[in-house]
């Protein structure tokens, strides 16, 4: 082993590469760094350390992201509600506050030092397992998301399928938590969680089937590759910029809100009704684990939405392609997370029957129609000239027509009222 080998990457320093964006130094930086680390090791160990490094990077990057998304959520909620949000936590042993940037770590220390209460009569094993299982499954989903041009932790040819299989298991952990707590509120939350799982798993799955149909693959890498390129160097070939893609994206995001138990679908932990739902009997670090899993789920579903509909790591325009792909991915992720937070600050909660009715009578039919729409789109790919306009027109109508009709039926009997006055 010589020093010259590991340090050769320094020779690749020129930023703008003539060979195109794929080989730019910044683009390859994570790979180069990884290879530099593993080049110190004997050859037979490298694959193992490579995988471990991927895991370590995912855990640390998304762990940190989780910490700061919680802070961002509290800050943004605070600003929306015209209060400052947490801003008092200093760096330890100093008086430097930096807008409360140390807050997530203070929260972590607090939840670690709190007493871990297990109710008498609770199922101790399930009560302990529920947060662990929840967290494990939500971390598993990170494996198949392409974070950048060269950054796919695991290349599965059925990556999308794997993602949603692992994601669906998280709701079972919520049920475990509710059942094991031996608390009536938790039990109600568990029932709600299961009903929500069954209702919203279907539109979630039906929303991404059109993508698989058009891209022709279940592999996340190939789905992202199918969205490369730009129309007139302006409009990217992302799926969201097609009628079926826009509808699919909307359905996917609504179902993702429900899957990650976020407002307005946060029924399992409805604070004003069920105190804290399935979290009622959890305290200390187990509670923090639930929180972590919820945010991981949110981040993973946003990442999958980006992969399926928002062009993955692709830049929105060829002129900004010099910015590395993982930066674009993170940018899109932040935008979606901001959307999640904004929705939480704005909307009230639905009722259980309205929630399920919305899924079965609105989202599922719409997603099925959208599937047919995507089939039409992929069959008519060779239409050109005026037919291209006709193709768009048909596709838009096929989505908007049922949307209006189903929406009208769904909100029948609900309307603003006019009030009379006594003289």
């Amino acid at each position: 082993m010589t020093l010259s080998g590991p340090l050769t990457f320094l020779l690749q320093l020129p930023l703008a590469s003539a060979a195109g964006a794929a080989d730019a130094f910044l683009e390859r930086l994570p790979l180069v760094a990884r290879d530099w680390v593993t080049s110190w090791l004997p050859e037979p160990w490298r694959w193992l350390v490579n995988s471990l490094l991927s895991i370590a990077v995912i855990l640390s990057v998304f762990g940190l992201l989780f910490a700061y998304v919680t802070l961002a959520e509290r800050k943004i909620l605070g600003r929306i509600q015209n209060r400052p949000g947490p801003n008092r936590t200093p760096i330890p042993f100093t008086k430097l506050r930096f807008f409360g940037l140390a807050q997530p770590f203070a929260d972590g220390v607090k939840s670690l030092t709190k007493e871990d209460v297990v109710p008498r009569g609770a199922d101790h094993l399930l009560h302990f397992l529920a947060p662990v299982v929840l967290l494990a499954f939500s971390i598993l989903t990170f494996a198949v998301i392409p974070y950048g041009r060269h950054l796919v932790p695991v290349e599965l040819n059925a990556g999308v399928l794997y993602f949603f299989a692992a994601g669906a298991a998280t709701e079972l952990a919520v049920f475990m938590a509710g059942w094991a707590s031996r608390n009536k509120y938790s039990l109600l939350a568990a029932m709600r969680a299961l009903a929500q799982l069954i209702s919203y798993e279907l539109p979630l799955l039906l929303a991404w089937v059109p993508v698989v149909l058009v891209a022709g693959s279940l592999s996340t890498t190939e789905i992202v590759a199918a969205q490369a390129g730009w129309q007139f160097n302006v409009i990217p070939h992302w799926h969201v910029f097609t009628p079926w893609g826009a509808a699919g994206f909307a359905i996917f995001m609504i179902a993702a809100l429900a899957e990650s138990n976020r407002s307005p679908f946060d029924l399992p932990e409805a604070e004003s009704e069920l105190i804290a739902g399935h979290l009622t009997e959890y305290s200390g670090f187990k509670y923090a684990l639930f929180f972590m899993a919820e945010y991981f789920g949110m981040i993973a579903l946003s990442g999958m939405a980006i992969t399926l509909f928002l062009g993955g790591w692709h830049a929105p325009s060829p002129y900004v392609e010099f910015i590395p792909s993982y930066v674009w991915f993170m940018g899109k992720l932040s935008a979606l997370l901001l959307g999640f937070i904004w929705i939480r600050a704005t909307f009230p909660r639905l009722r259980m029957d309205q929630l399920t009715r919305f899924a079965w009578k609105f989202l599922v039919p719409l997603a099925l129609i959208n599937l047919g729409n995507a089939a039409f789109w992929s069959l008519s790919f060779h239409w050109s000239g005026p037919f291209q306009i006709l193709r768009w027109l048909i596709s838009v109508l096929v989505v908007v027509g049922p949307f209006v009709l189903l929406g009208r039926k769904l909100s029948a009997g609900v309307a603003p009222r006019v009030y009379r006055y006594a003289v």
Binding site: L267, S272, E273, R349, P416, R417, A422
Partner: protein, 393 residues
């Protein structure tokens, strides 16, 4: 609970839209009894509901209160007439000004005490400010119960603090004002204070517009509240329900018009009425009432006469009314708040009795909740507008 009980319950409590399951066997599962409260986040204090659930549908609801009982009415018999005034602040601690006024009105009736005109105007101004404060808070609480993550509540509380600032600068206390006296008010509001009240009145409509933009036309809020917790006018009248809750059922009964107490007949305002008696109507009636309150405030502030704030002949400390009885009532923000006083000529009342609007409005809770879900029960309770200080006394 047996099958016969449930069918009897259905026959007895059949309100439109409320379905209670009658079949009760092992196939259909058991009923679940949940004790909501007294430390539940949305029971507005230490209120408790023992609900029997079929799935999430309520088949039986038993309200339990008294956790905040303070022996208020008995205490009133052991202190002087003036000594009771601070205690009335603690009844409905969101609207101490109107509590004070109702009590002062009862004592004034008992003693035949006159009130100067300026004091009457100030009382109206303070009562309408209290109505704004109470209804704003209630709208915020109700939306919090609906599951908004605090946003409407925070905006409501911002406005509430502006009104409380006015109360504090006038009476020295934000919430426990202890401001009214028999024969007038304790302090004369300064020109600065009146200018502040005018400023608040002028911009309150803008706040209401902002608030309503976010909430009133919101599809989820309409879906959550319309048709939920219906109350029929007949039941409302026979249960003695008053205030916005009664007017939401379409009954035209506003003591400001019916009794025409104080100087209210001089002001031009309308009484909004609902047609459905559900949660949405109760919310909207309160919003519309706030808009009418702004009109009253504008007129009262413009027409405030000069003169004394207290009747110079009024006695406070050595107050001994003749033997007799009196009932003074006003239209509080929550409904009819009344004080009944029985005097035997001593410095203390012989009997001191309160008609608390939130307690009486609460009695129809089960009728409104049956057949709805837990989530609905929370917002129905929120729309009744209770303060436990007044319910439990």
């Amino acid at each position: 609970m047996s099958v016969s009980d449930l069918s009897a319950l259905n026959a007895q409590r059949a309100t439109p839209g409320a379905r209670v399951r009658e079949v009760h066997d092992s196939f259909h599962g058991d009923l679940l009894e949940v004790s909501m409260g007294p430390h539940h986040p949305s029971t507005h204090g230490v209120f408790r509901m023992i609900v029997t659930l079929d799935g999430e549908t309520i088949v039986k609801l038993k309200p339990v209160f008294g956790y905040l009982h303070r022996n208020h009415e008995k205490l009133g018999e052991t202190v002087t007439y003036l000594g009771s005034m601070p205690y009335t602040d603690r009844l409905d601690y969101l609207s101490s000004m109107t509590n004070n006024w109702a009590y002062a009105l009862a004592v004034e009736k008992l003693a035949g005490q006159a009130v100067p005109e300026r004091a009457e105007y100030v009382r109206v101004i303070l009562a309408e400010l209290t109505r704004l404060l109470n209804h704003t808070c209630l709208a915020g609480f109700l939306m919090q119960d609906c599951g908004c993550s605090g946003t409407p509540l925070m905006y409501a509380f911002r406005e509430r603090e502006y009104i409380l600032d006015l109360f504090e600068s006038l009476s020295g206390s934000r919430m426990m004002c202890n401001y009214q006296r028999f024969g007038g008010c304790r302090v004369d509001p300064s020109a600065d204070w009146l200018a502040g009240a005018q400023k608040l009145t002028d911009r309150y409509g803008t706040f209401l517009d902002e608030f309503e933009t976010l909430l009133t036309g919101n599809e989820i809020i309409m879906a959550r509240t319309q048709g939920v917790g219906k109350l029929s006018p007949e039941l409302a009248i026979s249960a003695g329900v008053t205030g916005p809750m009664l007017r939401a059922t379409g009954v035209n009964y506003d003591l400001r018009k019916v009794d025409a107490y104080g100087v209210y007949p001089r002001f031009d305002f309308r009484v909004p009425l609902g047609d459905h008696g559900d949660v949405y109507d109760r919310y909207m009636i309160r919003v519309l009432e706030m808009r009418e309150s702004i009109k009253i405030l504008q007129q009262a502030l413009a027409g405030l006469p000069a003169g004394p704030i207290m009747d110079p002949k009024a006695k406070l400390r050595s107050f001994r009314p003749k033997a007799g009885e009196a009932y003074g009532r006003i239209e509080g923000p929550k409904g009819e708040i009344g004080f009944y006083l029985l005097s035997d000529g001593s410095p203390n009342p012989y009997r001191y009795r309160i008609r608390p609007p939130s307690f009486i409005n609460l009695t129809v809770l089960e009728d409104m909740c049956l057949g709805h879900t837990v989530a609905d029960a929370v917002i129905i309770l929120g729309s009744v507008d209770i303060v436990l200080g007044e319910v439990d006394r």
